[in-house]
Amino acid sequence: MGTLETMKDIFDNPNKIIEEWKKDGRKVVGHRCMYVPEEIIHAAGMLPYPTFGTPEPIKKADSYFQPCACEFVRNLFDLALDKKFGFLDSMVLCNTCDAVRHLYNMWDTYVDSVPCYMVNNPQKMYDESGFKFYRMELEKFKKLMEDLSGNKITDESLKKSIELYDETRKLLKELNDLRKRDIPAISGSEFLVTSMASMLMPKEKANPLLRKLIDEVKNREIKNADGPRILLTGSIIDNPTLIELVEDMGGVVAVDDLCTSAKYFWYTTKPNNDPMDAIVRFNLERTLCACAHPSEDRYDYLQELIREFNVDGIIYFNIKYCHPFVYESAIFRKKLEEEVPTLTLEVDHSLSGLGQLKTRVQAFIEML
Protein backbone atom coordinates (compact mmCIF):
# COMPACT_ATOMS: atom_id res chain seq x y z
CA MET A 1 0.00 0.00 0.00
CA GLY A 2 1.50 3.39 -1.08
CA THR A 3 1.99 5.93 1.67
CA LEU A 4 -0.90 8.06 0.37
CA GLU A 5 -3.20 5.08 0.84
CA THR A 6 -1.83 4.55 4.37
CA MET A 7 -2.60 8.17 5.15
CA LYS A 8 -6.13 7.79 3.75
CA ASP A 9 -6.61 4.62 5.83
CA ILE A 10 -5.57 6.42 9.03
CA PHE A 11 -7.73 9.41 8.13
CA ASP A 12 -10.74 7.13 7.56
CA ASN A 13 -10.41 5.15 10.78
CA PRO A 14 -8.56 7.01 13.53
CA ASN A 15 -9.86 4.45 16.06
CA LYS A 16 -7.02 2.15 15.01
CA ILE A 17 -4.53 4.69 16.33
CA ILE A 18 -6.49 5.06 19.57
CA GLU A 19 -6.69 1.31 20.19
CA GLU A 20 -2.98 0.87 19.51
CA TRP A 21 -2.06 3.80 21.79
CA LYS A 22 -4.35 2.80 24.65
CA LYS A 23 -3.29 -0.88 24.47
CA ASP A 24 -0.89 -0.54 27.37
CA GLY A 25 -2.96 1.94 29.39
CA ARG A 26 -1.55 5.18 27.94
CA LYS A 27 -3.90 8.16 27.92
CA VAL A 28 -5.33 10.34 25.14
CA VAL A 29 -6.10 14.05 25.52
CA GLY A 30 -8.48 15.67 23.00
CA HIS A 31 -7.89 19.32 22.07
CA ARG A 32 -9.45 21.94 19.89
CA CYS A 33 -7.82 25.02 18.41
CA MET A 34 -4.20 25.98 18.08
CA TYR A 35 -3.47 27.57 21.47
CA VAL A 36 -3.51 24.18 23.25
CA PRO A 37 0.21 23.18 23.09
CA GLU A 38 0.40 19.52 21.98
CA GLU A 39 4.03 19.38 23.10
CA ILE A 40 3.03 19.66 26.80
CA ILE A 41 0.51 16.82 26.46
CA HIS A 42 3.10 14.69 24.61
CA ALA A 43 5.87 15.45 27.12
CA ALA A 44 3.59 13.97 29.81
CA GLY A 45 3.48 10.72 27.82
CA MET A 46 -0.03 11.18 26.47
CA LEU A 47 -1.33 11.35 22.90
CA PRO A 48 -2.69 14.77 21.84
CA TYR A 49 -5.76 14.03 19.72
CA PRO A 50 -7.12 16.84 17.50
CA THR A 51 -10.90 16.46 17.62
CA PHE A 52 -12.21 16.66 14.06
CA GLY A 53 -15.90 16.56 13.14
CA THR A 54 -17.85 14.28 10.79
CA PRO A 55 -20.00 15.53 7.89
CA GLU A 56 -23.23 14.28 9.46
CA PRO A 57 -26.36 16.38 10.20
CA ILE A 58 -26.84 17.54 13.78
CA LYS A 59 -29.05 15.26 15.90
CA LYS A 60 -28.97 15.87 19.63
CA ALA A 61 -26.93 19.06 19.87
CA ASP A 62 -29.78 21.24 18.56
CA SER A 63 -31.75 20.53 21.72
CA TYR A 64 -28.97 22.31 23.65
CA PHE A 65 -27.67 24.91 21.19
CA GLN A 66 -29.76 27.41 19.27
CA PRO A 67 -29.14 26.48 15.61
CA CYS A 68 -27.43 29.85 15.02
CA ALA A 69 -24.13 28.57 16.43
CA CYS A 70 -21.40 27.26 14.12
CA GLU A 71 -22.29 23.81 12.82
CA PHE A 72 -18.75 22.41 13.28
CA VAL A 73 -18.87 23.04 17.06
CA ARG A 74 -22.44 21.69 17.28
CA ASN A 75 -21.20 18.58 15.44
CA LEU A 76 -18.37 18.11 17.98
CA PHE A 77 -20.87 18.45 20.82
CA ASP A 78 -23.18 15.96 19.05
CA LEU A 79 -20.32 13.42 18.89
CA ALA A 80 -19.50 14.07 22.56
CA LEU A 81 -23.14 13.47 23.56
CA ASP A 82 -23.08 10.24 21.53
CA LYS A 83 -20.00 9.17 23.57
CA LYS A 84 -18.00 9.04 20.28
CA PHE A 85 -15.19 10.84 22.18
CA GLY A 86 -15.49 8.40 25.11
CA PHE A 87 -11.89 7.26 24.59
CA LEU A 88 -10.59 10.71 25.63
CA ASP A 89 -9.22 11.02 29.15
CA SER A 90 -9.64 14.79 28.99
CA MET A 91 -10.78 17.46 26.51
CA VAL A 92 -8.87 20.74 26.38
CA LEU A 93 -10.20 23.87 24.66
CA CYS A 94 -8.81 27.41 24.36
CA ASN A 95 -9.96 30.99 23.94
CA THR A 96 -10.63 31.49 20.23
CA CYS A 97 -14.17 32.10 18.94
CA ASP A 98 -17.60 32.37 20.60
CA ALA A 99 -18.60 28.86 19.50
CA VAL A 100 -15.56 27.18 21.13
CA ARG A 101 -16.40 29.05 24.36
CA HIS A 102 -19.95 27.68 24.13
CA LEU A 103 -18.52 24.20 23.58
CA TYR A 104 -16.65 24.54 26.88
CA ASN A 105 -19.82 25.65 28.71
CA MET A 106 -21.92 22.87 27.21
CA TRP A 107 -19.31 20.11 27.53
CA ASP A 108 -18.54 21.03 31.12
CA THR A 109 -22.27 20.86 31.99
CA TYR A 110 -23.74 18.06 29.91
CA VAL A 111 -20.87 15.65 29.07
CA ASP A 112 -19.82 13.91 32.27
CA SER A 113 -17.91 11.02 30.64
CA VAL A 114 -14.93 13.24 29.64
CA PRO A 115 -13.73 16.16 31.85
CA CYS A 116 -13.20 19.45 30.00
CA TYR A 117 -10.58 22.15 30.66
CA MET A 118 -9.98 25.53 29.07
CA VAL A 119 -6.58 27.09 28.47
CA ASN A 120 -7.02 30.88 28.53
CA ASN A 121 -4.88 32.61 25.94
CA PRO A 122 -4.56 36.25 24.87
CA GLN A 123 -5.98 37.24 21.49
CA LYS A 124 -3.43 40.03 21.01
CA MET A 125 -0.14 38.80 19.57
CA TYR A 126 3.42 40.12 19.94
CA ASP A 127 2.57 41.65 23.38
CA GLU A 128 5.07 40.99 26.20
CA SER A 129 2.39 41.27 28.88
CA GLY A 130 0.41 38.69 26.88
CA PHE A 131 3.40 36.30 27.00
CA LYS A 132 3.45 36.63 30.80
CA PHE A 133 -0.30 35.94 31.07
CA TYR A 134 -0.15 32.93 28.72
CA ARG A 135 2.91 31.55 30.57
CA MET A 136 0.96 31.51 33.86
CA GLU A 137 -1.90 29.68 32.16
CA LEU A 138 0.48 27.14 30.57
CA GLU A 139 2.15 26.46 33.92
CA LYS A 140 -1.28 25.58 35.34
CA PHE A 141 -2.01 23.46 32.24
CA LYS A 142 1.34 21.67 32.58
CA LYS A 143 0.53 20.84 36.21
CA LEU A 144 -2.87 19.48 35.15
CA MET A 145 -1.25 17.25 32.49
CA GLU A 146 1.23 15.96 35.05
CA ASP A 147 -1.58 15.08 37.47
CA LEU A 148 -3.62 13.41 34.69
CA SER A 149 -0.70 11.31 33.40
CA GLY A 150 1.10 10.75 36.69
CA ASN A 151 4.38 11.62 34.89
CA LYS A 152 6.62 14.59 35.59
CA ILE A 153 7.22 16.95 32.64
CA THR A 154 10.91 17.90 32.68
CA ASP A 155 12.68 20.46 30.51
CA GLU A 156 14.34 17.57 28.66
CA SER A 157 11.08 15.71 27.90
CA LEU A 158 9.53 19.01 26.78
CA LYS A 159 12.50 19.86 24.53
CA LYS A 160 12.30 16.39 22.97
CA SER A 161 8.59 16.81 22.30
CA ILE A 162 9.13 20.25 20.76
CA GLU A 163 11.82 18.81 18.46
CA LEU A 164 9.54 15.92 17.48
CA TYR A 165 6.60 18.19 16.65
CA ASP A 166 8.80 20.67 14.82
CA GLU A 167 10.09 17.79 12.71
CA THR A 168 6.50 16.97 11.67
CA ARG A 169 5.87 20.63 10.86
CA LYS A 170 9.05 20.86 8.75
CA LEU A 171 8.16 17.69 6.85
CA LEU A 172 4.58 18.83 6.19
CA LYS A 173 5.90 22.18 5.00
CA GLU A 174 8.43 20.46 2.75
CA LEU A 175 5.63 18.34 1.29
CA ASN A 176 3.48 21.45 0.90
CA ASP A 177 6.30 23.24 -0.93
CA LEU A 178 6.05 20.55 -3.64
CA ARG A 179 2.82 22.27 -4.63
CA LYS A 180 4.59 25.50 -5.60
CA ARG A 181 5.60 24.11 -8.97
CA ASP A 182 3.50 24.70 -12.08
CA ILE A 183 2.31 21.09 -11.83
CA PRO A 184 1.99 20.30 -8.10
CA ALA A 185 3.31 16.94 -6.87
CA ILE A 186 0.28 16.34 -4.69
CA SER A 187 -3.35 17.44 -5.06
CA GLY A 188 -5.18 19.60 -2.52
CA SER A 189 -7.45 16.81 -1.32
CA GLU A 190 -4.55 14.33 -1.01
CA PHE A 191 -2.57 16.91 0.96
CA LEU A 192 -5.46 17.63 3.37
CA VAL A 193 -5.87 13.91 4.10
CA THR A 194 -2.10 13.60 4.66
CA SER A 195 -1.95 16.66 6.89
CA MET A 196 -4.93 15.53 8.99
CA ALA A 197 -3.61 11.95 9.24
CA SER A 198 -0.25 13.32 10.44
CA MET A 199 -2.07 15.42 13.04
CA LEU A 200 -3.99 12.33 14.24
CA MET A 201 -1.03 9.92 14.34
CA PRO A 202 1.62 9.81 17.06
CA LYS A 203 4.44 11.93 15.61
CA GLU A 204 6.92 9.08 16.13
CA LYS A 205 4.90 7.21 13.45
CA ALA A 206 4.02 10.22 11.27
CA ASN A 207 7.53 11.53 10.61
CA PRO A 208 9.00 8.42 8.91
CA LEU A 209 5.79 8.07 6.86
CA LEU A 210 6.06 11.70 5.74
CA ARG A 211 9.72 11.25 4.73
CA LYS A 212 8.73 8.16 2.72
CA LEU A 213 5.85 10.07 1.10
CA ILE A 214 8.07 13.00 0.14
CA ASP A 215 10.42 10.62 -1.68
CA GLU A 216 7.52 8.87 -3.41
CA VAL A 217 5.88 12.06 -4.75
CA LYS A 218 9.03 14.18 -5.25
CA ASN A 219 8.86 14.02 -9.04
CA ARG A 220 5.23 13.01 -9.37
CA GLU A 221 2.88 15.26 -11.34
CA ILE A 222 -0.84 15.31 -10.64
CA LYS A 223 -3.29 14.99 -13.53
CA ASN A 224 -5.29 17.94 -15.02
CA ALA A 225 -3.17 20.67 -13.42
CA ASP A 226 -3.71 23.22 -16.20
CA GLY A 227 -6.62 25.00 -14.50
CA PRO A 228 -6.29 28.20 -12.40
CA ARG A 229 -4.33 27.91 -9.12
CA ILE A 230 -6.60 28.41 -6.10
CA LEU A 231 -5.86 29.42 -2.49
CA LEU A 232 -8.46 27.99 -0.10
CA THR A 233 -9.07 29.69 3.22
CA GLY A 234 -11.91 30.23 5.68
CA SER A 235 -13.40 28.12 8.44
CA ILE A 236 -11.99 24.73 9.38
CA ILE A 237 -12.42 22.07 6.69
CA ASP A 238 -12.03 18.58 8.13
CA ASN A 239 -13.25 16.66 5.08
CA PRO A 240 -11.68 16.54 1.60
CA THR A 241 -15.10 16.68 -0.19
CA LEU A 242 -15.03 20.47 -0.60
CA ILE A 243 -11.49 20.40 -1.97
CA GLU A 244 -12.38 17.57 -4.34
CA LEU A 245 -15.32 19.67 -5.51
CA VAL A 246 -12.99 22.54 -6.48
CA GLU A 247 -10.61 20.10 -8.20
CA ASP A 248 -13.44 18.36 -10.10
CA MET A 249 -14.46 21.79 -11.44
CA GLY A 250 -10.97 22.19 -12.96
CA GLY A 251 -9.32 24.24 -10.23
CA VAL A 252 -5.82 23.41 -8.95
CA VAL A 253 -5.84 23.76 -5.15
CA ALA A 254 -2.27 25.02 -4.87
CA VAL A 255 -2.35 26.03 -1.22
CA ASP A 256 -4.85 25.95 1.65
CA ASP A 257 -4.61 28.20 4.71
CA LEU A 258 -6.75 25.97 6.94
CA CYS A 259 -6.60 24.95 10.61
CA THR A 260 -6.15 21.39 9.33
CA SER A 261 -3.24 22.25 7.03
CA ALA A 262 -1.00 25.36 6.62
CA LYS A 263 -1.93 26.97 9.95
CA TYR A 264 -0.65 23.81 11.71
CA PHE A 265 2.86 23.71 10.22
CA TRP A 266 3.59 27.18 8.75
CA TYR A 267 5.85 28.19 11.63
CA THR A 268 8.30 26.17 13.78
CA THR A 269 9.50 26.85 17.31
CA LYS A 270 12.44 29.23 17.62
CA PRO A 271 15.43 27.86 19.57
CA ASN A 272 15.18 28.77 23.27
CA ASN A 273 16.74 27.11 26.28
CA ASP A 274 13.54 27.61 28.29
CA PRO A 275 11.11 25.19 26.52
CA MET A 276 7.98 26.70 28.13
CA ASP A 277 9.01 30.16 26.88
CA ALA A 278 9.66 28.63 23.45
CA ILE A 279 6.07 27.30 23.38
CA VAL A 280 4.65 30.66 24.52
CA ARG A 281 6.48 32.52 21.75
CA PHE A 282 5.66 29.85 19.15
CA ASN A 283 1.96 30.46 19.80
CA LEU A 284 1.97 34.24 20.32
CA GLU A 285 4.51 35.53 17.79
CA ARG A 286 2.26 34.88 14.78
CA THR A 287 -1.28 35.85 13.70
CA LEU A 288 -2.71 32.77 12.01
CA CYS A 289 -6.08 32.47 13.70
CA ALA A 290 -8.78 34.83 12.39
CA CYS A 291 -9.82 35.54 16.00
CA ALA A 292 -6.44 37.06 16.83
CA HIS A 293 -5.12 40.63 16.48
CA PRO A 294 -3.51 42.40 14.67
CA SER A 295 -5.49 41.02 11.72
CA GLU A 296 -3.41 43.04 9.22
CA ASP A 297 -0.80 40.33 9.87
CA ARG A 298 -3.15 37.74 8.40
CA TYR A 299 -3.51 39.91 5.33
CA ASP A 300 0.28 40.02 4.82
CA TYR A 301 0.46 36.24 5.42
CA LEU A 302 -2.18 35.67 2.71
CA GLN A 303 -0.19 37.94 0.36
CA GLU A 304 2.89 35.80 1.04
CA LEU A 305 0.94 32.64 0.14
CA ILE A 306 -0.41 34.29 -3.04
CA ARG A 307 3.14 35.17 -4.16
CA GLU A 308 4.87 31.93 -3.17
CA PHE A 309 2.26 29.65 -4.74
CA ASN A 310 1.44 32.12 -7.60
CA VAL A 311 -2.24 31.97 -6.91
CA ASP A 312 -4.86 33.03 -9.52
CA GLY A 313 -7.93 33.08 -7.24
CA ILE A 314 -8.94 32.88 -3.56
CA ILE A 315 -11.98 30.98 -2.26
CA TYR A 316 -13.29 31.59 1.28
CA PHE A 317 -15.29 28.57 2.51
CA ASN A 318 -17.12 30.07 5.51
CA ILE A 319 -19.20 27.72 7.64
CA LYS A 320 -22.53 29.42 8.30
CA TYR A 321 -22.42 31.55 11.53
CA CYS A 322 -18.60 31.34 11.67
CA HIS A 323 -18.17 34.95 12.79
CA PRO A 324 -14.33 35.28 12.66
CA PHE A 325 -14.15 34.44 8.95
CA VAL A 326 -17.44 36.07 7.97
CA TYR A 327 -15.95 39.35 9.26
CA GLU A 328 -12.50 38.73 7.79
CA SER A 329 -13.79 37.93 4.30
CA ALA A 330 -15.94 41.09 4.32
CA ILE A 331 -13.15 43.30 5.71
CA PHE A 332 -10.38 41.96 3.41
CA ARG A 333 -12.57 41.62 0.31
CA LYS A 334 -11.89 45.04 -1.30
CA LYS A 335 -8.13 44.94 -0.62
CA LEU A 336 -7.73 41.32 -1.76
CA GLU A 337 -9.72 41.86 -4.94
CA GLU A 338 -7.31 44.54 -6.10
CA GLU A 339 -4.75 41.78 -6.72
CA VAL A 340 -6.58 38.46 -7.02
CA PRO A 341 -10.30 37.66 -7.64
CA THR A 342 -11.88 36.43 -4.40
CA LEU A 343 -15.00 34.30 -3.97
CA THR A 344 -16.71 34.03 -0.58
CA LEU A 345 -18.97 30.99 -0.15
CA GLU A 346 -21.24 29.93 2.69
CA VAL A 347 -21.02 26.20 3.38
CA ASP A 348 -22.64 23.76 5.79
CA HIS A 349 -20.30 21.55 7.77
CA SER A 350 -22.70 18.69 7.03
CA LEU A 351 -21.97 19.32 3.30
CA SER A 352 -25.63 19.86 2.31
CA GLY A 353 -26.49 21.93 -0.75
CA LEU A 354 -23.40 20.92 -2.76
CA GLY A 355 -25.35 21.37 -6.01
CA GLN A 356 -25.48 25.17 -5.67
CA LEU A 357 -21.89 25.23 -4.45
CA LYS A 358 -20.71 23.47 -7.63
CA THR A 359 -22.31 26.13 -9.82
CA ARG A 360 -20.58 28.95 -7.94
CA VAL A 361 -17.16 27.28 -7.91
CA GLN A 362 -17.36 26.34 -11.61
CA ALA A 363 -18.41 29.88 -12.55
CA PHE A 364 -15.50 31.28 -10.54
CA ILE A 365 -13.05 28.95 -12.26
CA GLU A 366 -14.49 29.79 -15.69
CA MET A 367 -13.93 33.45 -14.79
CA LEU A 368 -10.22 33.04 -13.97
Binding site: E56, P57, I58, K59, K60, D62, S63, Q66, P67, C68, D348, S350, L351, S352, G353, L354, G355, Q356
Partner: protein, 257 residues
Amino acid sequence: MLTAGIDAGSLSTKVVILNQDKIMAYEVLATGIDIGAATKRAMDNVLEKAGISLQDVESIGSTGVGKKKVPYKSVQGTEVVCDTKGALYFYPKSNGVIDIGGENCRAIKFDAEGNIVDFALNDKCASGTGIFLDAMAKALRVKPEEMGELSLQSTEDIEVTSMCSVFAESEVVSMIHRKVPKNNILRGIHKSIASRVVGLANRILLEGNVIIIGGIAKNIGLVTTLNELMNSELTVPEKPEVVGALGAALLARERKE
Protein backbone atom coordinates in the same frame (compact mmCIF):
# COMPACT_ATOMS: atom_id res chain seq x y z
CA MET B 1 -74.97 20.96 26.69
CA LEU B 2 -73.72 21.78 23.16
CA THR B 3 -70.44 23.66 22.74
CA ALA B 4 -68.42 24.56 19.62
CA GLY B 5 -64.63 24.81 19.29
CA ILE B 6 -62.87 26.75 16.52
CA ASP B 7 -59.18 26.43 15.66
CA ALA B 8 -58.51 29.29 13.19
CA GLY B 9 -55.07 28.33 11.88
CA SER B 10 -53.21 30.32 9.24
CA LEU B 11 -53.44 27.42 6.77
CA SER B 12 -56.50 25.39 7.81
CA THR B 13 -59.59 26.15 9.92
CA LYS B 14 -61.13 23.43 12.09
CA VAL B 15 -64.49 23.51 13.86
CA VAL B 16 -65.85 20.88 16.28
CA ILE B 17 -69.30 20.44 17.91
CA LEU B 18 -69.12 18.78 21.33
CA ASN B 19 -72.21 17.18 22.86
CA GLN B 20 -71.55 16.08 26.46
CA ASP B 21 -68.54 13.78 25.93
CA LYS B 22 -68.96 12.99 22.25
CA ILE B 23 -67.78 14.85 19.19
CA MET B 24 -71.01 15.20 17.25
CA ALA B 25 -69.48 16.63 14.08
CA TYR B 26 -66.30 18.28 12.82
CA GLU B 27 -65.19 20.22 9.75
CA VAL B 28 -61.72 20.97 8.35
CA LEU B 29 -61.13 23.36 5.42
CA ALA B 30 -58.40 25.63 4.05
CA THR B 31 -58.32 29.09 5.65
CA GLY B 32 -57.34 30.85 2.43
CA ILE B 33 -57.22 34.64 2.43
CA ASP B 34 -60.14 35.56 4.74
CA ILE B 35 -60.20 33.96 8.22
CA GLY B 36 -63.65 35.30 9.09
CA ALA B 37 -65.24 33.88 5.92
CA ALA B 38 -63.45 30.53 6.31
CA THR B 39 -64.62 30.19 9.92
CA LYS B 40 -68.18 31.06 9.00
CA ARG B 41 -68.16 28.52 6.15
CA ALA B 42 -66.70 25.81 8.43
CA MET B 43 -69.26 26.61 11.16
CA ASP B 44 -72.19 26.45 8.74
CA ASN B 45 -70.98 23.05 7.39
CA VAL B 46 -70.52 21.56 10.87
CA LEU B 47 -73.91 22.83 12.08
CA GLU B 48 -75.47 21.22 9.04
CA LYS B 49 -73.62 17.93 9.67
CA ALA B 50 -74.76 17.95 13.28
CA GLY B 51 -78.31 18.87 12.21
CA ILE B 52 -78.47 21.81 14.66
CA SER B 53 -78.53 25.62 14.34
CA LEU B 54 -76.25 28.26 15.84
CA GLN B 55 -78.76 29.10 18.63
CA ASP B 56 -78.50 25.53 19.99
CA VAL B 57 -74.81 26.09 20.73
CA GLU B 58 -74.46 27.37 24.31
CA SER B 59 -70.85 28.53 24.15
CA ILE B 60 -68.06 28.81 21.62
CA GLY B 61 -64.30 28.55 22.22
CA SER B 62 -61.67 29.76 19.76
CA THR B 63 -57.93 29.31 19.39
CA GLY B 64 -55.25 29.55 16.72
CA VAL B 65 -53.52 32.55 15.15
CA GLY B 66 -56.85 33.91 13.83
CA LYS B 67 -58.80 33.58 17.10
CA LYS B 68 -59.38 37.35 17.31
CA LYS B 69 -60.99 37.44 13.84
CA VAL B 70 -63.58 34.72 14.54
CA PRO B 71 -67.03 36.28 13.72
CA TYR B 72 -68.67 34.89 16.89
CA LYS B 73 -68.55 35.87 20.56
CA SER B 74 -66.13 33.23 21.89
CA VAL B 75 -63.89 32.35 24.79
CA GLN B 76 -60.33 32.75 23.43
CA GLY B 77 -57.56 30.37 24.50
CA THR B 78 -53.95 29.89 23.42
CA GLU B 79 -52.95 26.89 21.34
CA VAL B 80 -50.85 25.50 24.22
CA VAL B 81 -53.83 25.40 26.60
CA CYS B 82 -56.28 24.03 23.99
CA ASP B 83 -53.89 21.35 22.69
CA THR B 84 -53.40 20.15 26.28
CA LYS B 85 -57.16 20.04 27.07
CA GLY B 86 -57.87 18.26 23.79
CA ALA B 87 -55.13 15.63 24.31
CA LEU B 88 -56.15 14.94 27.93
CA TYR B 89 -59.76 14.53 26.82
CA PHE B 90 -58.76 11.48 24.76
CA TYR B 91 -55.91 10.20 26.98
CA PRO B 92 -56.09 11.31 30.64
CA LYS B 93 -52.91 9.34 31.47
CA SER B 94 -50.66 11.01 28.86
CA ASN B 95 -47.57 13.08 29.80
CA GLY B 96 -47.36 15.42 26.85
CA VAL B 97 -48.50 16.40 23.37
CA ILE B 98 -46.69 17.32 20.17
CA ASP B 99 -48.66 19.47 17.70
CA ILE B 100 -47.26 19.33 14.17
CA GLY B 101 -49.22 21.95 12.27
CA GLY B 102 -48.87 23.48 8.83
CA GLU B 103 -46.53 26.30 9.91
CA ASN B 104 -45.05 25.44 13.32
CA CYS B 105 -44.68 22.60 15.73
CA ARG B 106 -45.14 22.76 19.50
CA ALA B 107 -44.13 20.30 22.22
CA ILE B 108 -46.00 20.55 25.54
CA LYS B 109 -45.29 18.67 28.78
CA PHE B 110 -47.87 18.38 31.55
CA ASP B 111 -47.91 16.70 34.98
CA ALA B 112 -50.22 13.99 36.32
CA GLU B 113 -53.07 16.46 37.03
CA GLY B 114 -52.78 17.89 33.50
CA ASN B 115 -51.12 21.20 34.48
CA ILE B 116 -48.73 22.53 31.85
CA VAL B 117 -45.17 22.18 33.13
CA ASP B 118 -43.19 23.31 30.10
CA PHE B 119 -43.56 23.86 26.37
CA ALA B 120 -41.22 24.56 23.46
CA LEU B 121 -41.77 26.08 20.03
CA ASN B 122 -39.72 25.27 16.95
CA ASP B 123 -37.03 27.75 15.91
CA LYS B 124 -38.03 30.07 13.14
CA CYS B 125 -35.48 28.41 10.87
CA ALA B 126 -37.19 25.04 11.36
CA SER B 127 -40.73 26.26 10.68
CA GLY B 128 -42.90 25.46 7.73
CA THR B 129 -43.20 21.68 8.22
CA GLY B 130 -46.62 21.36 6.59
CA ILE B 131 -45.84 23.72 3.72
CA PHE B 132 -42.55 21.89 3.14
CA LEU B 133 -44.36 18.55 2.84
CA ASP B 134 -46.90 20.00 0.41
CA ALA B 135 -44.13 21.54 -1.72
CA MET B 136 -42.30 18.20 -1.72
CA ALA B 137 -45.46 16.38 -2.75
CA LYS B 138 -45.73 18.76 -5.72
CA ALA B 139 -42.03 18.42 -6.65
CA LEU B 140 -42.14 14.61 -6.44
CA ARG B 141 -45.57 14.49 -8.17
CA VAL B 142 -47.03 12.46 -5.33
CA LYS B 143 -50.39 12.95 -3.53
CA PRO B 144 -49.71 14.38 -0.01
CA GLU B 145 -51.72 11.59 1.65
CA GLU B 146 -49.60 8.85 0.05
CA MET B 147 -46.26 10.32 1.10
CA GLY B 148 -46.36 8.52 4.43
CA GLU B 149 -46.73 4.97 3.11
CA LEU B 150 -44.27 5.52 0.25
CA SER B 151 -41.60 6.72 2.67
CA LEU B 152 -41.84 3.40 4.54
CA GLN B 153 -41.01 1.41 1.41
CA SER B 154 -37.57 2.99 1.08
CA THR B 155 -34.61 0.79 0.18
CA GLU B 156 -31.87 3.01 1.55
CA ASP B 157 -31.51 5.59 4.32
CA ILE B 158 -30.47 8.89 2.78
CA GLU B 159 -30.04 12.19 4.61
CA VAL B 160 -31.87 15.44 3.88
CA THR B 161 -29.50 17.44 6.04
CA SER B 162 -30.68 21.05 5.96
CA MET B 163 -33.05 22.13 8.68
CA CYS B 164 -34.50 25.07 6.76
CA SER B 165 -37.36 24.00 4.47
CA VAL B 166 -36.12 26.24 1.64
CA PHE B 167 -32.66 24.63 1.58
CA ALA B 168 -34.24 21.19 2.03
CA GLU B 169 -36.38 21.90 -1.03
CA SER B 170 -33.35 22.72 -3.18
CA GLU B 171 -31.58 19.65 -1.78
CA VAL B 172 -34.54 17.43 -2.76
CA VAL B 173 -34.75 19.03 -6.22
CA SER B 174 -31.10 18.15 -6.79
CA MET B 175 -31.78 14.58 -5.60
CA ILE B 176 -34.65 14.31 -8.10
CA HIS B 177 -32.30 15.45 -10.85
CA ARG B 178 -29.80 12.81 -9.73
CA LYS B 179 -32.61 10.24 -10.17
CA VAL B 180 -32.54 9.13 -6.52
CA PRO B 181 -35.55 6.77 -6.08
CA LYS B 182 -38.66 8.62 -4.91
CA ASN B 183 -39.26 6.45 -1.83
CA ASN B 184 -35.72 7.04 -0.57
CA ILE B 185 -36.11 10.82 -0.93
CA LEU B 186 -39.41 10.63 0.95
CA ARG B 187 -37.70 8.60 3.69
CA GLY B 188 -35.02 11.31 3.93
CA ILE B 189 -37.67 14.05 4.14
CA HIS B 190 -39.62 12.29 6.87
CA LYS B 191 -36.48 11.53 8.86
CA SER B 192 -35.40 15.18 8.70
CA ILE B 193 -38.81 16.38 9.96
CA ALA B 194 -38.95 13.64 12.61
CA SER B 195 -35.48 14.53 13.95
CA ARG B 196 -36.53 18.19 14.19
CA VAL B 197 -39.62 17.20 16.19
CA VAL B 198 -37.50 14.94 18.44
CA GLY B 199 -35.07 17.83 18.98
CA LEU B 200 -38.01 19.94 20.10
CA ALA B 201 -39.24 17.25 22.51
CA ASN B 202 -35.73 16.83 23.97
CA ARG B 203 -35.65 20.55 24.80
CA ILE B 204 -38.32 19.97 27.46
CA LEU B 205 -37.21 16.40 28.30
CA LEU B 206 -40.57 15.07 27.11
CA GLU B 207 -40.95 11.32 27.67
CA GLY B 208 -43.55 8.70 28.50
CA ASN B 209 -46.91 8.63 26.76
CA VAL B 210 -46.97 11.40 24.13
CA ILE B 211 -49.91 12.30 21.91
CA ILE B 212 -49.13 13.41 18.36
CA ILE B 213 -51.72 15.86 16.99
CA GLY B 214 -52.10 18.33 14.15
CA GLY B 215 -52.77 17.94 10.44
CA ILE B 216 -49.40 16.26 9.76
CA ALA B 217 -49.99 13.58 12.45
CA LYS B 218 -52.10 11.63 9.92
CA ASN B 219 -48.89 10.95 7.96
CA ILE B 220 -48.12 7.33 8.91
CA GLY B 221 -44.56 7.67 7.59
CA LEU B 222 -43.75 10.51 9.98
CA VAL B 223 -45.28 8.82 13.03
CA THR B 224 -43.41 5.56 12.31
CA THR B 225 -40.11 7.46 11.96
CA LEU B 226 -40.85 9.33 15.19
CA ASN B 227 -41.40 5.98 16.93
CA GLU B 228 -37.95 4.89 15.72
CA LEU B 229 -36.21 8.00 16.99
CA MET B 230 -38.11 8.63 20.22
CA ASN B 231 -37.94 6.18 23.09
CA SER B 232 -41.36 7.26 24.36
CA GLU B 233 -44.71 5.69 23.53
CA LEU B 234 -46.53 7.67 20.85
CA THR B 235 -50.26 7.64 20.18
CA VAL B 236 -52.15 9.38 17.38
CA PRO B 237 -55.83 10.07 18.15
CA GLU B 238 -58.43 9.22 15.56
CA LYS B 239 -58.95 12.80 14.31
CA PRO B 240 -55.57 14.41 15.19
CA GLU B 241 -56.15 17.67 13.31
CA VAL B 242 -59.22 18.71 15.38
CA VAL B 243 -57.76 18.12 18.86
CA GLY B 244 -56.96 21.84 19.17
CA ALA B 245 -60.51 22.83 18.26
CA LEU B 246 -61.83 20.23 20.72
CA GLY B 247 -59.68 21.81 23.40
CA ALA B 248 -61.23 25.21 22.64
CA ALA B 249 -64.72 23.70 23.02
CA LEU B 250 -63.74 22.14 26.36
CA LEU B 251 -62.32 25.52 27.48
CA ALA B 252 -65.60 27.25 26.56
CA ARG B 253 -67.64 24.62 28.46
CA GLU B 254 -65.39 24.95 31.56
CA ARG B 255 -65.83 28.74 31.59
CA LYS B 256 -69.60 28.27 31.20
CA GLU B 257 -69.89 25.97 34.30
